[in-house]
């Protein structure tokens, strides 16, 4: 029978709704359409992908710990850096950002019973899982996995240079995960536009939900382009078309245009959800509302719009792109990102900061993202980019960025994990994990910046036996191993704190609607909802004496009103 839902605030005690008798065990996992279960599946799968991709990274850093490393062969090294990038970007960071936490949290934050299209949501997960399996299957084929870099540039990815099944599996896996992303984007847009609770106007949505809406729109703009490009690449490989081959009158650089028209917005598809998580966490643990709420939303929208006009800054050295246009647009992104930095600091300013693990991770995100962001401004300038293109400077830049995102994601897991599992993680282990991760990240990236400026090219398995290069590479490898240990510590933490520290409904005295319901939330999320009069409905309910002021209202006005009453 279809679950025709009454709104949650009508305090019905219909046993059918409170105790949802569904299938259990594996059948429940295969047939579920509950956004929380799907989100949890996404979370677990994405974390497994993080561990797989991280394992590849450790092998890469092991190989580079000595100038003529023999840990892997040159061919295996090509497969490893390709699949490290592919697993981390396509299978971990993206799905974790918009499939895992967003799936669980967004409907609850806006007071909705589920995603707008629950079965489409389940399909998204199955396409993601099968896409991941497809891509990784390459390792078990005769020719090995894809080995042309995660960007799949032609002519490296044509049949002449990559004849094996690994390349086709890479394309197939990307098609599946691409459709998964598009369906999730549609679902998030529909959910946020149509399933908000009464009083939850657009400008009362939590920043995380706002960022997910913008991310979803970016997905809808960018992913179809990649899918189309992949189909063209497959046709070039197998059906004799010459879209990307010079021999048949095609244009190889067209692949780069198509790939990066998806690829640069993808950076923000990855980053915006983590910006949202960190914004929520910093506000809650500073015990203040978000500083500059509307400014944050404006900055998010601006970043998203600009991100679609900067793709060719990855292609400066091809010599066929309009340098001033892409340089100006790329530099402009620093403005809204700067607004965000300013607002994060403004939110912490004079707050009662509680340095829980989630907050430490969030602050670590801000610091590390600042390093990655500032070096990005260097790279937006063509003269500097010509000098550093395809060196370790670029590698260091985007690893600062993505390691910041990993910290943001862990902040999200420490913060929201108790909501969807019902149990807290061990704070002491969490703090040790944070410091290892934070220091390991800086030790890993800073030597790479220096190596890049000295001209060490990326994607090379061996390098000249120079004592300084050896030392810098060793330091970087040491950093990478420390990051690996911190990741293992997270797994240890999950095992150690398994069902040990019950969280309660609102362990952080947080602001938004998900903390109004139980941990974990019931089927269809809410038994009742509070009155929504600001972007912090749960806070307003719990602290009527410190209610959130309306935009433009000042505390002094409020005091005067109180005095006259």
């Amino acid at each position: 029978m279809t679950d025709v839902l009454e709104p949650a605030h009508v305090e019905h005690h219909d046993a059918d709704h409170e105790e949802h008798h569904g299938a259990t065990g594996i059948l429940n996992w295969l047939t579920t359409t509950d956004h929380k279960v799907i989100g949890l599946s996404y979370t677990v799968t994405a974390v497994i992908m993080l561990v797989i991709g991280g394992f590849f990274a450790e092998i890469i850093r092991g190989q580079l710990a000595s100038p003529n490393g023999h840990l892997v062969s040159l061919a295996q090294y090509n497969e490893l850096f390709t699949m490290h990038g592919s697993v981390m970007i396509y299978l971990f960071a993206g799905p974790f950002a918009f499939g895992a936490l967003a799936n669980i949290i967004v409907p609850i934050q806006i007071g909705a019973p589920d995603m707008a299209f629950p079965r489409l949501n389940a399909l998204s997960y199955w396409l993601y899982l099968t896409g991941a399996i497809t891509m990784l299957m390459g390792f078990f084929t005769a020719g090995g996995a894809a080995n042309f870099g995660w960007v799949g540039y032609v002519p490296l990815s044509n049949t002449l240079n990559s004849p094996g099944a690994g390349a086709d599996l890479w394309i197939g896996g990307l098609l599946l995960t691409g459709f998964s992303a598009i369906f999730t984007g549609v679902n998030l847009c529909a959910t946020i536009f149509y399933l908000r609770a009464p009083g939850m106007t657009m400008f009362r949505m939590p920043i995380f939900t706002w960022n997910m809406l913008v991310t979803a729109i970016l997905i809808l703009l960018a992913f179809p382009v990649l899918t189309a490009g992949l189909v063209m690449l497959y046709c070039d490989r197998h059906f004799g078309t010459h879209i990307f081959s010079v021999a048949g009158g095609g244009v190889p650089v067209l692949w780069q245009h198509i790939f990066w028209f998806w690829g640069h917005p993808e950076v923000y598809i990855l980053a915006l959800p983590f910006f949202g998580m960190v914004t929520e966490i910093i506000a809650v643990f500073s015990r203040k509302p978000v500083f500059g709420y509307k400014g944050m939303i404006f900055a998010t929208l601006t970043i998203a719009a600009l991100s679609l006009g900067v793709w060719a800054h990855h292609m400066f050295t091809t010599g066929v792109v309009l340098l001033p246009f892409f340089s100006i647009m790329s530099l402009l992104i620093a403005v809204p990102t700067g607004i965000k930095m300013f607002n994060w600091i403004g939110t912490m300013w004079r707050g009662e900061i509680w340095f829980s693990t989630a907050m430490l991770m969030a602050v670590g995100f801000v610091v590390t993202f600042l390093i990655g962001g500032l070096t990005g401004i260097y790279l937006a300038s063509p003269p500097l980019d010509f000098f550093t293109h395809d060196t370790y400077f670029v590698v260091a830049h985007f690893h600062s960025v993505v390691m910041a995102l990993v910290m943001g994601g862990l902040a999200g897991l420490y913060y929201w994990g108790p909501k969807f599992t019902g149990y807290l993680l061990n704070e002491r282990l969490g703090k040790v994990q944070f410091w290892l991760l934070f220091l390991g990240t800086q030790l890993f990236t800073v030597p790479l910046y220096i190596l890049g400026l000295e001209g060490m090219p990326r994607r090379m398995a061996v390098y000249p036996n120079d004592p300084q290069w050896k030392m810098l590479n060793d330091l970087s490898s040491l950093g990478a191993f420390i990051i690996g240990i911190s990741t293992l510590l997270f797994v240890v933490n999950i095992i150690v704190s398994w069902k040990k520290y019950p969280a309660g409904d609102n362990p952080w005295d947080a602001h938004t609607l998900e903390w109004f319901t139980t941990s974990p939330p019931p089927h269809h999320n809410f038994y009742r909802l509070p009155q929504i009069r600001s972007e912090r409905p749960t806070w307003d309910y719990n602290h009527p004496e410190h209610r959130t002021l309306h935009h433009g209202e000042h505390a002094s006005d409020h005091d005067k009103q109180e005095a006259t009453v």
């Binding site: 679950d3 019973p113 099968t130 197939g172």
Partner: protein, 130 residues
């Protein structure tokens, strides 16, 4: 509904302007076409939402002073559980593997996809399993 419409229309406007500037300055077609398509993705749904927002009464979620009882009634129909997303996922998996390992895999792949389409539609009419 007006805010939602304005976001999408604003996005369309931005891409329209960018498309004009970029295409005329660079004379490069790929990016010009993609920005034009981006403009359409802003204007088409944005225009539709705007058209509707002028014809409908504000919904409780658009009203800043709404109380929870304003939203009383049926929120929507949410299927309880369904095997068909999984079936379709497996079908798509086989279809993709057919691209790599051999065309014969299309047979189970398309069979699963068609089964899930029929089954999912019928389930939608019937109301699904609880």
């Amino acid at each position: 509904m007006k805010v939602e419409a304005k976001i999408l229309l604003g996005l369309g406007l931005f891409f329209g302007l960018m498309c004009l500037v970029y295409w005329n300055w660079s004379l490069e077609n790929a990016g010009g076409v993609m920005m034009f398509a981006g403009m359409l993705l802003g204007f088409l749904p944005g225009g539709y939402y705007y058209w509707w927002s002028r014809r409908m009464a504000p919904r409780p979620e658009d009203n800043p002073n709404a109380t929870q009882s304003d939203g009383a009634g049926v929120v929507g129909a949410f299927p309880g559980s369904s095997i068909f997303p999984f079936v379709m996922g497996m079908g798509a998996f086989f279809v993709v593997l057919a691209l790599v390992f051999g065309i014969w895999l299309l047979v189970p792949g398309l069979a699963l996809v068609v089964w899930s389409l029929l089954g999912g539609t019928a389930e939608g009419r019937r109301g699904g399993q609880h």
